[in-house]
Symmetry: none
Subunit: 142 residues, 4 copies
């Protein structure tokens, strides 16, 4: 398995949104990207604000760009803020330093894509991203 | 009805992709935007190339930007190529002069969003956009 | 009421500038955006510097992008500077983390646009934005 | 007189929109820029599409950028399309090659700003720009 199919991406989104509903979270937006950082599927729930595509994609795309979750990029930004800030203008898909962007890996640990969730706290966003990946039978980067 | 809901956007995408399947078209990508040009939902079928979000959004967002379908923008580009080319760098959501971007209107004819389809010929892309809008019980700009 | 009309936008601007005059503030600039972040009307008082459109629009557009006032975005930037800094390069209408950008809502609390004021202290800018919204008979997001 | 005041800019906009109303034109948008290409005032009539700030500013700003009206830039684009197209990405305020962008000059013929109108045919847009400039007691570049 070297790609996330559209069917799998839709399953990720549906499960992530279900998780948000079960937890009573604010309106969420979910982006699923392929390994190159290009969007496969996206959904923005009613009532969400306008920048959600960019934030969700920037969490997931930033994760792919650096090879680590956006939670770890947030940690990196706390230690090296100027370095992380310098990536924004040169990263085609953005780099958002906040939890909620998770890399999806194949059986050998290689990235096959990433999921980005935004709308609630970044901790809750990440819970929903992980729930979506698991529900689709895929594996999040450890 | 002043907004396209996520449920309606998903219905548009499902029906547009069904239409493409029924017609035996190449892999399609479908973007549904709100009236301000911000993405509500998106799907890119397996096998589609990487720039499809930007093309689908640029057809739909360009239609909203100018208030006419991307088919009419293509006609405009044939007559006034330099004018249409000049819009690209200044349009936040892009302007793609090719059929497949269709404005969705409310009962008074005001835009409530737009649909952009890309992947096959632009004529076929537009057929699928219109099929999606109709299947969701919405109205395409006349 | 689902849109801010040009007449309402002009009323907002006139009242915001009157408020600045009454308070003896520096030259102000006022932008009124629709719900999608697109400018409806703008005025820059004599003596104001050149970047005022971008700052006023970035306050108002950033508020719409994240669904909260630019005052709250400033609070967020104090806690999470790298996160807020990362939004600038990917936000079509900019994100300015300083008070003075206020969302305008309809009777159900849904955004119908936003007002951005710049030129004096950000606290004073916000006072003028709120005065403009109230004078036009509209409601600021609580 | 070396600057267009906000009061004059508002007078230009009001008169340009009145002209459009008298001629029964489509919804218009009018931008008034200072000599540096920075927006002084703007209005977008109800029913106008979303890209109107950029088009109006790009007509007026392009005129200032090259020192000739956007009508003459359209003529230039017909003869040298690649040259004009190359200006878009490097012009801070855009260059729109279509009539409707007119430079305002002082008594010695030096630019003090420009007016850009968009919404109807470019010929009609220019008629309204000229009407606005004349009504404000100012002089269009000959």
């Amino acid at each position: 398995m070297s790609r996330i199919s559209l069917a799998q991406a839709n399953a990720i989104i549906a499960a992530a949104l279900d998780k948000g509903g079960a937890l009573g979270l604010k309106p969420l937006s979910v982006a699923v990207l392929d390994a190159g950082g290009h969007l496969i599927a996206f959904a923005r729930q009613d009532g969400a604000s306008t920048l959600r595509l960019q934030i969700a994609s920037g969490k997931a795309g930033g994760a792919l760009a650096l090879g680590i979750s956006s939670r770890k990029i947030a940690d990196m930004a706390a230690e090296r803020p100027s370095f992380v800030a310098s990536l924004g203008p040169i990263a085609p898909h953005g780099v958002i330093p906040a939890a909620g962007g998770v890399i999806v890996v194949d059986g050998e640990g290689a990235p096959i894509g990433a999921v980005g969730v935004t709308g609630d706290t970044s901790d809750n966003d990440e819970i929903c991203a992980l729930a979506g990946i698991a529900a689709a039978g895929l594996t999040a980067q450890g």
